[in-house]
Amino acid sequence: MKLIFALLAMLPLACGGQASAGRVLTLTGSSTIAPLAAEMGLRFEAVNPGSRVDVQSGGSSRGIADVRAGHADIGMASRALAASEEDLTPVTIARDGVALIVHADNVVTELTSEQVRRIYLGEASDWSEFGGTSGPITVVNKAEGRATLTVFLEHFGLDSRAIQADVIAGENEQAIKTVAGTPGAIGYVSIGTAMVDREAGVTIKLLALDGVQATHQNVSSGAYPLSRPLNLVLTTSPSPLALEFIEFARAPEQNDLILRESFVPMAEKL
């Protein structure tokens, strides 16, 4: 079954990838960027009749692999490109911060990078060490391969196998629901997702890191240390439609979409 579907799915790519590129634009990659890209795609289709924008999420690494292999016109990567990815061109359309979150009832309001390191390494296991109500810390980590994990590990200089996790979550929402249901938990998710849920009344709280509040202003100004670029990734020979879309996505007219998804528009366009 799977094989047949896979073969069927690949047929149009194999036969008509170049020919149909003028009409259909395929974006794949980061599940963080996908909702934003889909909204931009709808608007793009409205002003460019006859064009279709197809957005599929599957992780930054997948987006990079797909655009490199020609399966997608544009890759979406919610991280800076690695040295081994220099053959591709990233275009940053917005920024996203990674926020440390705890349960809303937790009295702790900020941590330093060193304290976060100690918690994730299992060296500190009780909230009383950080001025909180005494109780064990439940460490929520992300699954291997996730962009938020990469951003987190790089910033704190951690090795993924040294982390002493109690729960490993896949999606942002899973991490948020776990923290919201566990008074002693700490986790990290995209600031955008955390803020939307916080406003919706989910029982989580965003922690300040090294004295800097996790807010849009601080992410956009670069003051908040734990942030990442949202990149659209192109090969060296992009299709005209892909370039058109990138131009469209970077225009200030799209800032309302970026803000609606709780991301931060690029500073020079604010």
Partner: protein, 304 residues
């Protein structure tokens, strides 16, 4: 002449039908080989290096090489799959068989109909809904203040809810297939409804009930999303009821979307292990099922 004329078109139809049936059977059977072929093909990189053996000798699962090498041990996750499956069966088997027996033999007809509809609705609920319920209701309740609550117990309970309808409905169907004469004869001998169920109906329907349990076990081994949401997903050997663990299916679902190259290939090997696991289960079930059939040969065929 008339007979031959009457037979001739039927034979042609028969022949056509035979071809259709044979090719559908062949297609169905070859699909499993195609899937197997596809999985082995995708796994070939990891099967070459580090090789199939590494998946059983490496101590842990760290497929992404961050400069200190990769580890591909699946045994803790295999144990986690078996532990959650066993835990779920432990909860769902008595409840499911009990509900099935009640419905088929004890409950008044209108009530049985209502109950059956409710169980069927239970069977139709998508697994993520169970998972979501587990994550926002069950897990905080198990965890209390000091604990996440995600782990073996939560996974077993959520899984058992999903197995319950399978076991209940197959038990009920097996019991309803027991010949009425046997039950009437038992009633004529003065046995009450409970004794009729215990001494006549359940032994006669044993094969069907076991088949339902095997089906449920298969579902438990293969269930992914609901378990993923409540198991905690830390790669670890099952220890306590509240300690987190990661199942084979959960591992694939958690990492596949984000995996590239050797990591992706390694996940297909995990899929291969899972397929072997299920195949082994089917074979064991076959041996077990046929053994039961012989021991109750007098009534076994009736219990299908």
């Amino acid at each position: 002449m008339r007979t031959s004329l009457a037979i001739a078109p039927r034979t042609r139809q028969d022949r056509a039908l035979g071809v259709v049936l044979r090719s559908s059977a062949l297609l169905a059977a070859s699909l499993i080989f195609l899937v197997l072929l596809f999985v082995v093909f995708e796994a070939r990189g990891a099967l070459a290096t580090p090789g199939f053996g590494a998946f059983f000798t490496d101590p842990s699962w760290h497929p992404v090489d961050d400069g200190t090498g990769s580890e591909y041990g699946v045994l803790p996750m295999l144990a986690a799959t078996l532990a959650t499956t066993f835990g779920a069966l432990l909860i769902a088997t008595p409840l499911g068989i009990g509900a099935g027996v009640f419905n088929a033999l004890v409950a008044p007809a209108p009530f049985a109909l209502l109950h059956r509809s409710l169980v069927e609705i239970l069977a139709g609920i998508p697994s993520v809904v169970y998972g979501l319920w587990g994550l926002v209701v069950l897990v905080p309740w198990i965890g209390g203040v000091s604990h996440s609550g995600q782990g073996l117990l939560a996974a077993s309970i959520v899984l058992s809810l999903m197995l319950l309808p399978t076991i209940t409905l197959s038990t009920e169907a097996a019991l309803l297939a027991v010949p009425k004469e046997q039950l009437q004869a038992a009633a004529a001998l003065g046995l009450g409804p409970i004794a009729r169920a215990r001494l006549v109906a359940v032994p006669a329907a044993r094969r069907g009930i076991v088949a339902g349990l095997v089906l449920a076990t298969g579902r438990a081994v293969g269930e992914t999303m609901a378990v993923l949401m409540v198991a905690g997903n830390v790669v670890a050997w099952p220890r306590g009821l509240r300690d987190p663990l990661r199942t084979l299916t959960g591992n694939i679902a958690l990492e596949m979307g984000y995996a590239t190259e050797s990591h992706r290939s390694a996940l297909f090997v995990v899929g291969l292990v899972l397929m072997l696991c299920v195949a082994l289960l089917v074979i064991l079930a076959g041996l077990f099922g046929s053994g039961k059939n012989h021991s109750v040969s007098a009534s076994g065929s009736a219990g299908r």
